[in-house]
Amino acid sequence: MTINQLSVFIENKSGTLVKVLQLLKQANIQIIASSIADTAEYGIYRIICSEPAKAYDELKKAGVAVALSDVFAIELDNQPGRAAEAVECLSNAGISIAYMYTFLFNGKGILIFRTDNADKTREVITLNGLRFVTEKDLSLWS
């Protein structure tokens, strides 16, 4: 129901992002989607990738501040308005979204997000007939 996301704490300093990317490259990890939550002094780099557990271990070994977290991933038709409808379902149920990012994958729009209430989110997604994306889906397509 959820997929693994890597979160990496990086300082706003040149060279910090490239270090993380190089480590992933060396481990032969493919990045499927990523986004950076930036503040004035640091960023949190969030990554959906192939073999997240392996990627996590490699970064950890290299001393990087990395966390493996569960995020929701749903698949939407690539048409205007679909994201609005999906988020509206969550909003109507009183669920707050902590963060969200989207990407196009195999002709579909993928919505990655985390909320303040995982159980309720799962319920709302199922009730509204929204389609979960699994890590397997992502690996099959890639």
């Binding site: 979160s7 704490f9 990086i10 300082e11 910090t16 939550a37 503040t39 002094e41 640091y42 949190i44 969030r46 950890k60 001393g63 990087v64 501040a65 990395v66 966390a67 493996l68 977290s69 569960d70 902590a98 963060y99």
Partner: protein, 426 residues
Amino acid sequence: MSRDEMSDLQGKRLHKIVEYVYHNVPFYRNKLQEMDIRPDDIQTIEDITKLPFTTKKDLRDNYPFGLQAAPQSEIIRVHASSGTTGNPTIVGYTRKDIGVWSECMARCLTAYGVTRDDIFSVSYGYGLFTGGLGAHYGVEHIGASVIPAGTGNTEKHLKLIRDLGITGIACTPSYALYLAETMEKMGISKDQIKLKIGAFGAEPWTEQMRQEIQERLGLKGYNLYGLSEIMGPSVSYECQEQNGSHICEDHFYPEIINPVTLEPVPYGQPGELVFTTLTKEGMPVLRYRTRDLCSLMSGTCDCGRTAIRMSRITGRSDDMLIIRGINVFPSQVESVVLSMPEFAPRYMLVVDRVNNLDTLQVQVELRQEYFTSTMDTPAAIDELEKRLSSRLKSVLSIAAKVQLKAPNTIERSQGKSAHVIDKRQL
């Protein structure tokens, strides 16, 4: 007073104070007995070199009242200054001590030219810090009108400076520059205010700062030195010559020592400043090592005063920082950082001066294992930073901005000073 008369007075007072602490402070009695010194061995001021030193550590080890000589019923006020670790230094004053302090402070102000006709604003912090009340009592002693402005609320303060025709001010030199800046922003020109005397102290400052303050506020700025372990502001003061600070040496006997060998250093040569309180009742100290580096000047000043002068403080023989007038030790930051498991035991203090106000940034490293899935939002990281900064604030008494660094990015320090980057260039 001639030098001979002063030495004679100092010798008599030294004998009395040694006798007093010998009988009233077990810490000193034990020390003197260990060194096989009896009060009667101390008869002249030259005998002072036989006496043991007192350090900040001694004050800390005897927290809170271990070095107090007077019974609590005689103590009418208590001040506190920050210590190198959790415990502040507690200083109790008897009624006589407050009288001596006011008298010495009045001496300082008189040397600056303050009279009963002045309206004088005290803009040091009031409270446990000795600056506010110390200066306040001196101004009252002279009979000038004291405006207990304290710190903060700078615009209202400037309005009062203009509207009341305030003629003198006591504050930190960096606050004086901040006042000048705020004044310019408010559109008040220096012709609209009547400030003519500034008593600046509680932090190191340079001749260039003096020139700038004098120019922008249209006053004459004088150094005011003191430390709570000895008394508070009033220990020494500049006269109209602005050439070294005269020490109230009938109450606070100065020496300069080599901080490594602890041997006395002759006049004119730099070293660590040491004070013995000659008349204090509440918490007298023998040969207290201030850690301030400076030199002493003998000879009659052009103003006519014969009292010994001390040069500007050129540095510290320890790692203490003075930030916005508050003493900060890197070890205080260390104790806070170590108390929170989220951070590695590495840190860096970055001190700067922005718009004439000191700033303190504390850089800490996030421990790898504490960056978990619940920490992967800026809100969670900010909350962690806030927890650290509020603990720092309660220990340091000043606000510090926390900057979180990635694991293993702060250099492992070699020695204490490696924990500090001071960009202020004082």
